[in-house]
Symmetry: C2
Subunit: 91 residues, 2 copies
């Protein structure tokens, strides 16, 4: 996995995500805790299957997610793919 | 639910938890993401059942939890009970 250049990340950045230079981040808000947890559970399953995990936090109906690839100290295609999966899951 | 006095909180503080004056907090570390997620899933079920939710974050095998009762701006017996449940679950 190669670290993507900032220009490349901006080029392929999934909708709604911010790029800080080192990480992707996005906040999600749901109806209630149950809905937020259902969303997180799907992502956890995906993370486990792909061995690529989010840094995330949850307060009731809100979920804040950060993605980066620690091994390369930046954003890779793995992060882009996970961000896209997360967007699809949130719909 | 009444806010507990600081003295009372210190009196009944479950093992391993810190009391900041407004919240309880504790960090947990597991073997891997799968184990951390299993732990979180049990807590989520309890939170949903009791309608009392943690503020928490997760990075791979680490889980950081904060507990407080927003309605009263402090720590109540609900937080003590949830902290005790969390400790039992982590064992």
């Amino acid at each position: 996995m190669k670290k993507l250049s900032p220009a490349k990340v901006k080029d392929v950045l999934p909708e709604g995500w911010r790029f800080s230079g080192k990480t992707l981040s996005r906040k999600f808000e749901f109806k209630d805790f149950k809905a937020a947890w259902k969303f997180m559970s799907k992502i956890a399953k995906k993370a486990d299957a792909t061995d690529h995990h989010p840094d995330w936090s949850n307060v009731y109906n809100k979920v804040m997610i950060k993605l980066s690839t620690h091994d390369v100290g930046g954003v890779t295609n793995k992060d882009i793919a996970l961000a896209e999966y997360i967007n699809k899951t949130a719909e």
